[in-house]
């Protein structure tokens, strides 16, 4: 397996795909969900989210359709495709490997372990 050289980028896309794994959501909802689930540690900017959504769609990992919100507003609902689900699995596995590697290095810090 080749080492990843880009370190921990692309987390945003993984997070978006993850929140869509349960059920289709619209962009606004994705933002709220991530912030809420992370207990305000993480935050998605709209200016980052929508371009990301377009990338994911272009790559076929996500599909979208206009629907009506519970609040009777029109919104684009995004849903994970089969390919997207597979890709998400790969992303998560890679992220876990990388973050564990970082953790291993951090644990060597004086005053970290024991």
């Amino acid at each position: 397996m080749k080492p990843r050289t880009d370190l921990l980028q692309g987390t945003l896309e993984m997070l978006v795909l993850t929140t869509l794994a349960d059920e289709p959501m619209h962009g606004w909802g994705i933002c709220e969900r991530v912030q809420e689930l992370s207990e305000d540690v993480l935050k998605l900017n709209h200016g980052s989210l929508y371009p990301a959504l377009q990338r994911l769609k272009r790559r076929g990992w996500v599909r979208s359709e206009w629907r009506q919100t519970e609040n009777n507003r029109r919104a684009r609902y995004y849903a994970l495709t089969a390919a997207g689900r597979t890709h998400l699995g790969d992303e998560v596995a890679q992220w876990r490997r990388s973050s564990q590697a970082v953790e291993r290095i951090l644990d060597l810090l004086p005053g970290a372990g024991e």
Copy 2:
């Protein structure tokens, strides 16, 4: 505490500072060390490392001096400053918070937990 919006970037700098926490090293050695400690999961490119080292130096987190290698070659040895050590502590704390938040979200994935 404000949520971090830049997600998991800047890991490279944290990793560099971490490897310098033990003892001063030269750039080449830092690359090798990170790759080795991470068991080839992580890899630092020279083209990313040296600019990063210059940033760290400019910010006063690292100090450098020319020295002789074990192999009798000249190399720039980088050492963590006191400010750098403090900053590293902050970075690590923030990284742990963020990665744990990501992990919490990932754990909600169907087939992840239980």
